[in-house]
């Protein structure tokens, strides 16, 4: 689980869902960041054995943060900012594909 440091900036609030549950984040948060804040673990399972995985590098090289965003699967969550109405789904069954 991650926690937020006190934030005195005025970035604004974003409303989205994770696995259908409504959540709130700060404008500028990436999808991977809000997943780590949500304490949902694992956020995906490995394509080979189904073992649990979670974001690792936070910079787009490890591909462990893959989630489904607005029905499109295998998006790198660490490179995408949350937006209002975004529907984030973790990929915890093997071989998730896009819609």
């Amino acid at each position: 689980m991650f926690r937020r440091l006190p934030d005195k900036t005025d970035a604004g609030v974003v409303n989205f869902t994770i696995n259908g549950e409504p959540r709130v984040g700060r404008r500028g948060d990436t999808v991977a960041a809000v997943l780590l804040l949500s304490a949902i673990s694992p956020t995906r399972v490995s394509a080979v054995s189904g073992e649990p995985r979670a974001p690792y590098c936070m910079m787009g090289v490890c591909f462990e943060c893959l989630v489904t965003i607005n029905d499109i699967g295998n998006r790198q969550g660490c490179l995408i900012e949350v937006t209002n109405g975004m529907r984030i789904k973790t990929q915890t069954t093997r071989r998730e594909a896009g819609a």
């Binding site: 440091l5 090289v61 490890c62 490179l79």
Partner: protein, 473 residues
Amino acid sequence: MSTQPEIKAAYDVAIVGAGPAGLAAAAVTAGCGLTTVLLDENPGAGGQVYRGIETTPVRDPKILDRDYTDGHDLVLDLKETAAEFVRSAVVWSLARDGEIGVSVNGHAHMLRAKHTILATGAMERPFPIPGWTLPGVMTVGGAQTLLKSSGIVPEGRIVMAGCGPLLWLCAYQLLQAGCTVQAILDTTDAGQHHASMRHAAGFALSPYVAKGVKLMAAVRRRTRVISGVTQLAAIGDGKLQTVSYIAKSGNLERMETDYLLLHHGVIPNVNLAMSVGIDHTWDEVQGCWTPTVDNFGTTTVPGIAIAGDGAGIAGAWAAQYRGRLAGIAAVRTINPNATGLPDELAIRRDLAHAMRGRTFLDHLYRPARAFRLPADDTIVCRCEEITSKQIRETVALGAQGPNQLKSFLRCGMGPCQGRLCGTTVTEIIADARKVSPQDVGYYRLRPPVKPITLAELAGLPQTDDAAKAVVRL
């Protein structure tokens, strides 16, 4: 995002990566009147070292100090030019003739640049230990990114393991942010002290020594530092619960914890550069592949240059200066009569100063053999779950290089395209065959260097030859 510039068909200069090198290069080329596009896959500028610089919620200089906030100047300098900065722009191909394939918001574009500067920087060196794929294990760089861009930190107990300046810096930042850093497991290889001493004088004169010493002292006061760590493992059921290690006593110790942050230095992010055929050599000290470049960053492929850590690890300040030099070279090639070029000699002086002490650090923090050649059951290729043992067995069967290994085991064939396994695989094969990593080579990398959907690809404009030149199958 609605104020994004439209991607045009052609530019004088295309720059990939908006970290310090890319920002500095773009400011130079655009400042001299060259049409310039700066592409970065992240939503904001700054790369890794200045991650979130435009929007960070962390305003406390006791957590993120001038070394971070100074990065804002680079963004401001860029804004004063006509350079077009396209965010969330994922470059997936670069061709030798300057054609670039890039996707923004699910739409693929091809653009053409007379001159391309790659500023794709560095990434954490893969640090394979048993259990490193468990949720709860992350890179130190990843934790820093979360701190900088969102002001979030791990809750609960944190163990940090590895070696190198970034480890100490991040430990300091997390402690300043009020985190529970339980211990630092320092893997600095005792054998490297001797090798680094020859370069100690250079380090003593470097801009890093004062701060580095201060940071380490501050961290040592506030957390347990266990040095001489030669073995590490992450253990848990479904997530990290325990870290086990062996240090100087030689006994296997265990520590329960919630997060394990790993760091063994950074290495160039080579995928785009290698995919276009830029020559790379194996740097034995830094244990990574480095492109062959001249002192302007010009590579073995005409019209393509590399600036910043992607050209060889040298840190943020050096990246900025090398970015400017690559920018100067681009301007001179495209418009030899251009005026307004920055002072090359002054930049080179600054660069030399920024490079002081790097050799010392490279030697001192070279990860120990045991960590570069992980034990048998350690997963090396995370995407395909290939272990060190499987790799060695396949080499024994006759697969002599990383590409044969790929075909046989799917090692390196996952979505990360070898980013997290490549250097380890090269070193394991070199060790198994008793040849140099240079002789072993690396994965043959091809575009797309980031995944692209068929729909995106299908949406690209087609040329007339396209449907014609086809082989009858």
